[in-house]
């Protein structure tokens, strides 16, 4: 069996890349990169105390916000 030179190069590159990817994956598992805490921290990153989970943003097509604002203005 004789493989073309190009095929041999491709196979070597694929093996090296695969080995690197596998070792990176093993590292990630060992250091608990996929733990639920890590994932939750990432997912909640876009929220903060001022715009917390549970408060929708950007409700433009509603009259409530306008009324709310006007009351705020009076209070201020």
């Amino acid at each position: 069996m004789s493989l073309p030179f190009a095929a041999i190069i491709v196979i070597i590159i694929a093996l090296v890349a695969g080995a690197l990817a596998l070792s990176a994956f093993i590292w990630a598992i060992r250091t608990k990169q996929f733990s639920i805490e890590q994932l939750n921290r990432g997912a909640l990153l876009i929220f903060d105390d001022d715009e917390p989970v549970g408060t929708p943003q950007d409700m433009v097509f509603t009259d409530n916000s306008t009324h709310g604002k006007k009351e705020d203005e009076k209070a201020g």
């Binding site: 921290r41 950007d58 433009v60 306008t66």
Partner: protein, 493 residues
């Protein structure tokens, strides 16, 4: 504009909230302010190119219906205006508006003011000049001859330098970040900062010839989507859907899986544009396999986005951002599954070389990417301009016209293109009969296109109004927590 804005606004309602809340809000305002001028410049020039590009598009489409219309003008012939359309909407509209969204989003997600903000002024100028020079060159007849790479090399170089400057600022902002986690959107953004410059520079070197140049052409053509345009859209969808709804993304783990599957498979897809062509069969097969494997990242993203949205469809009624972004993410699923199917040989035998492909391309770039960009702009601008969108009615008009327009466009070309392909594969039907058959669908496409063009002008009008703080003053959600008296001091003439 930027200098004036850096002072922190006082919050008269602060006593009703905890210290922490006030700090969060102020920090967000400071970060948004620092990104304001670059973001508005990118978005504004993007919208300018959207208008130019969609006018090119409608003229090109009408030329199918009325081939002798403007027939004596060399610059406006179909073969020049079509590449002008593609390049202005891709490198002008989608790239520049996407860059604007990325600038704003990166600063927010890294929780730090935009770093090296000044390079963006240079980048915007270079990028716009590059697109302008390239477009003029195409219309004047200096076309490089390869789809997606029509711009002459000097125009390409200007865009490349502009992109590198832009990327430098994004990377620097990332390095100075105040967070120990990177949000999903940021993975896509940072990856594209590496991918796209490599791709664009290699493709523009012009070192290939013959069929390999064709392989390179479509490696580039498809990867421009894979490494730049799709990451823009996904970064936007991953941020705006959970943010507007106020619920975290359904599964962060799927987000991870989806990202790496996307990175692995997407940039092997390109050669499916050459199925049946004179290339080594294994090469085409590799691309088909990778295209079908795209189902994995697409489904991961689809599950994530749709299951985040599913119990909150009511909110689509209230939020323009959510409407556009959810439509966009639905179309991402649709266009990707369609793309995987389309790469398969038996499907390509019919659909390749027909208008079906054009419908597919617009489903991707318009119904997915542009919709998400529209949604992003509707969210970002009130927060940067400190002024609400003056005419919610016009937002609705924009939404319905562009949705109806792209709907008509895609459905017409999908049906017409498919049967065009079926007829082309029947040697008993003369070629001209096939052309005759497609004409009615090409008219439908012009109608859909016209609706989109009108909606873009409505959108651009409202964009100008919000920048000028013109139109009726509204107090809507973006400004809900801000102190109205302070705004009045600053803004009323």
């Amino acid at each position: 504009m930027a200098k004036k804005k850096t002072k922190k606004p006082a919050d008269p309602h602060g006593e009703f909230r905890g210290q922490r809340t006030e700090a969060d809000q102020e920090r967000r305002i400071v970060i948004d302010d620092a990104a304001r001028t670059p973001t508005v410049l990118y978005l504004g020039s993007g919208i300018f190119w959207l208008l130019v590009g969609s006018l090119f598009g409608i003229v090109a489409s009408l030329k199918f219906n009325l081939p002798d219309w403007l027939g004596s003008s060399a610059a406006l012939t179909f073969g020049r205006i079509r590449p002008a359309h593609l390049n202005t909407v891709m490198y002008g509209w989608a790239s520049l508006a996407g860059a604007g969204m990325i600038v704003w989003l990166t600063a927010r997600l890294c929780r730090i003011q935009l770093q090296l903000a000044w390079v963006h002024y240079l980048a915007v100028i270079l990028w716009n000049l590059g697109v302008l020079a390239g477009t003029v060159a195409i219309l004047a007849g200096y076309n490089q001859g390869m789809e997606w790479l029509e711009f002459p090399r000097f125009a390409g170089a200007m865009i490349a330098v502009g992109f590198l400057l832009f990327a430098a600022s994004i990377i620097q902002t990332f390095r100075k970040r105040n967070v120990d986690h990177l949000y999903v959107s940021l993975w896509y953004i940072l990856a594209s900062m590496i991918w796209f410059p490599f791709l664009y520079v290699v493709a523009n070197l012009g070192i290939y010839q013959g069929v390999i140049q064709a392989a390179m052409n479509w490696w580039y053509g498809h990867n421009a989507l894979a490494t730049w345009f799709t990451p823009i859209g996904l970064a936007g969808a991953y941020y705006f859907i959970p943010k507007v709804i106020g619920r975290p993304i359904y599964s962060y783990y799927l987000g991870l899986l989806g990202f790496w599957a996307f990175a692995l498979f997407y940039n092997w897809n390109g050669i499916h544009h050459l199925v049946g062509g004179p290339l080594p069969t294994w090469l085409v097969t590799v691309s088909i396999v990778a295209s079908v494997m795209m189902v994995v990242p697409v489904m991961a993203v689809a599950v994530n986005h749709h299951l985040t949205t599913v119990n909150h469809f009511r909110m689509l009624k209230f939020s323009p951002t959510l409407r556009f972004v959810v439509i966009g993410s639905m179309c991402y699923t649709a266009v990707s599954v369609q793309g995987s199917l389309e790469s398969i040989r038996s499907f390509q035998e019919v659909a390749h070389f027909t208008h079906y492909t054009i419908g597919h391309a617009h489903l991707g770039v318009y119904a997915f990417l542009s919709m998400i960009l529209f949604g992003a702009i509707y969210y970002i601008m009130p927060r940067l301009a400190r002024w609400e969108w003056p005419y919610p009615g016009l937002i609705k008009a924009h939404f319905w016209m562009s949705t109806a327009g792209i709907g008509i466009y895609v459905i017409a070309l999908t049906i017409g293109g498919w049967f065009q392909g079926v007829q082309l594969n029947d040697p008993a039907i003369p070629f001209m009969d096939v052309v005759e058959y497609t004409k009615i669908y090409l008219w439908a496409r012009s109608i859909g296109g016209a609706l989109m063009v009108v909606s873009h002008f409505i959108f651009a009008f409202q964009f100008v109004m919000i920048i000028k703080h013109a139109g009726p003053r509204r107090f809507a959600p973006a400004l809900f927590r801000e102190s109205a008296p302070m705004q009045r001091e600053e803004r009323e003439p």
